[in-house]
Assembly symmetry: C2
Homo-oligomer: 459 residues x 2
């Protein structure tokens, strides 16, 4: 009898008290959130506008300015208590007339499908040079100036197909795109050609940021994976093959820009802020649909849904459209600075920047001192969401919200099924038509549900 | 002290013993399965052949016969111990030159995009009649012969967008397609027009089976959801609007056909069978890619992967390509009959018939007497798969494997993310290009991993 009586006591001791505070009303309200999101929400319409009316919106572009206006107006019109802008200075880069990369093999000229990498300088005329294929940044040091000087360096390490999480595969390959050019320049190379970051073998070039360290600048251009495979084969046959490279890309002076912030003031604990957000800027190819139009409209829809269901938050909710995640993070940094100056406290910040695919769950992180305690609280609250097959795990927050770390709140990354993400990421195919309406709506529902639980019970 | 010492003992008592039998080797082997599936497996090539070389393969068609040959040869060549056919008689229906549905509204003729429903009779000429819109089969009785006689009944209840599981939404709407025609015929209606079964509003007609009860036969035709919405609007303006309907569909005599069965004989418990399967037949539109080419190739890949990794099963593994799931179930029924006659024992049967999307988990069922015990065992084995974010739940098995119920094994349905399934289901868009390679490969990996665990530990 004793054993039997002790067991329940232990369970009670282990489970936090909030669990018992969660009533059936939570399950019912979350069901309402899902039903509304799947049948009446405006999220698909928001995305259509952002993609089709605004279009690509790289920092410093007219599209970016237009995106600020559209989201500011929309968040205002839906009934936010206040909408304001947080200023930042952003880089202004343009690909101009783009790039042309061609090879001559056995007297036949082959054009490779290419795009200048973001922030890259142009070629100022034509570069024609022999090619050296490299799979790792480390290889550059071994090859040295002797082998690299005057050459075009071709970075061709594929993303690892065998990894289930395509984000991890991207993370392990992207150093070539980010640092390939600047590292090659150290050894006198004339240009860097980078295999596109995708597991798919197709003809889409994928852009993305390249970063120069100091004065080591040479043009950086991405080619499609099909063409990267072709070039690698061609180099086996003809190791002295030359590439002709032209790029009109150019950096201009920094420009003033803004993140957009909407707020619903909390009725009981207005000083406890819960943030949802995505980034408003996108690359110059495509329409920035999955990256990160969907994250922006997920976040806007959190507000729209809660208002439509007449939910009055106890805590202050912020919906933030961050500027310049892609090539600088000026929006994320300036927002944190703005917030820290005012001694604000974000108890949780949720970023959606993984695309508008079917939700899988949330990962979270925080300052070490407070993480375990907060994570335990969130874990207890999370119970009703597990019945939607969503997980809660330790893991990353998001690029734009990470600068809020010093406020010791929980930084939460919204995670979606990312198997198709790198088919589209940073390409001309990242358009509205490639976002499934239901998958997008479910994302908004998952984020709204988590915001509701955190708002109701706190962390 | 006592409380502390009792708690671990209770845990030991609660957790089944198999859990402790699962070594790290399981995690390692399952990792190998995933890595192989994502980088070297043949599953995408199998699907390409089935879709592009074989194409649509409705029971009784040349495509179905070709599909039998292709899978039989492939399963043989990959090294199965035996491959054999299980015969069945299947219906033979053809849409012929298809259907034409048009309306005259304000002197303008509008063609509606349509397709004859499977098993439906044709129109034998042209039917022209007024239309009565109905949302529920129940409404027919209320309307009675007075309102329905001589009319075309238009079934227009949409699938419910608010349901998260699109399969459930389908299940709650599909009675219109299956029984709409035969029920309307009872009241003297001349034809049934059915809104396509999808949550999407677009111009694709979705086919699927219609079933006649007794002699109550009138032609049954699906129209796209866009046209269903249009027709419903038009009827508000002009309630006496007439539709002109033509269909060349026709039933022929039953034909002999086959399910394909491949086997790897178990080394220790050859009488315990573990089945994986999908259905080989598909509708006449599209290429039967997600329905159910992916289920077939998932199952073939289970064999290919285990052989490539040199795994020797303890139990007998069967890979079954069922014929005629779509309009009769002759393959599933004859396979169970074949197996029962030989007093075989399937300890588990896993069917993949939900498409080639990202895996979410497995649902299972069994004969009541044995279910709880078996489910508990599987639950304990399942542990390494939860780290792949897969769930195990009570739920349905699969149409083709359900007839094996009397053998008291566990019937397991492989579940994938089904948000996009009904965008394509039974349409001309269910083609190879709409299956994502990585999502398909992950499906094969999930099924292979479960087969491995069940084979190693039994149920």
């Amino acid at each position: 009898m004793k054993a039997n009586s002790i067991f329940p006591l232990l369970i009670v001791a282990i489970l936090p008290n909030f669990l018992f505070a969660q009533e059936d009303t939570d399950a019912l309200f979350i069901k309402e959130i899902y039903e509304y999101s799947l049948s009446d929400s405006k999220v698909h319409g928001y995305l259509k506008h952002l993609c089709k009316e605004v279009g690509p919106r790289l920092s410093g572009s007219a599209g970016a300015a237009e995106a600020v206006k559209y989201t500011q107006n929309t968040l205002q019109q839906m009934g936010s208590d206040t909408v304001f802008l947080v200023d930042c200075m952003v880089p202004h880069w343009e690909q101009g007339k783009g790039s042309e990369v061609s090879a001559i093999l056995q007297n036949e000229k082959k054009m490779l499908r290419s795009t200048p990498l973001g922030n890259s300088i142009g070629t100022e005329g034509i570069i024609e040079a022999e090619v050296i294929e490299v799979n790792h940044l480390d290889s550059l040091e071994k090859l040295g100036e002797e082998k690299l000087k005057g050459k075009i360096v071709f970075f061709n390490r594929p993303m690892d197909n065998a990894l289930i999480n395509t984000g991890h595969a991207y993370g392990r390959a992207v150093d070539q795109r980010v640092y390939g050019a600047t590292k090659s320049a150290q050894y006198g190379a004339r240009a860097a050609i980078v295999r596109s970051m995708t597991t798919k073998i197709d003809d889409l070039p994928h852009t993305g940021v390249t970063i120069y360290e100091g004065m080591n600048k040479i043009p950086a251009i991405a080619i499609s994976t099909l063409d990267a495979e072709w070039l690698s084969e061609a180099l086996l046959t003809e190791p002295t093959l030359k590439l002709t490279v032209k790029s009109d890309a150019r950096n201009y002076n920094e420009k003033p820009s803004h993140s957009v912030v909407a707020e619903i003031r909390g009725s009981e604990f207005p000083d406890e802020i819960i943030l949802v957000g995505g980034h408003l800027d996108s690359w110059d190819l495509g329409e920035g649909a999955h990256d990160d139009g969907t994250g922006c409209v997920h976040s806007m829809q959190v507000f729209e849904t809660l208002m439509a269901l007449d939910y009055k938050p106890k805590r202050t909710l912020r919906c933030v459209m961050f500027m310049n995640e892609e090539n600088g993070l000026a929006g994320g940094l300036s927002y944190a600075e703005y917030s820290n100056e005012r001694e604000e406290h974000h108890i949780a910040a949720i970023e959606s920047d993984g695309g508008g695919f079917t939700p899988r769950g949330f990962t979270c992180t925080a300052d070490e001192e407070v993480f375990i305690d907060q994570y335990k609280k969130l874990n207890a609250l999370f119970e009703p969401l597990t019945s939607y097959d969503l997980y809660l795990k330790k893991g990353g927050g998001g690029a734009d919200i990470n600068p809020l770390k010093s406020q010791q709140g929980l930084l939460i990354g919204f995670r979606v099924d990312n198997q198709r993400y790198f088919d589209l990421h940073h390409t001309a195919a990242d358009v509205f038509e490639n976002v499934n309406q239901r998958e997008l709506e479910l994302g908004a529902a998952a984020m709204t549900s988590l915001v509701y639980l955190i708002d109701k019970y706190g962390l």
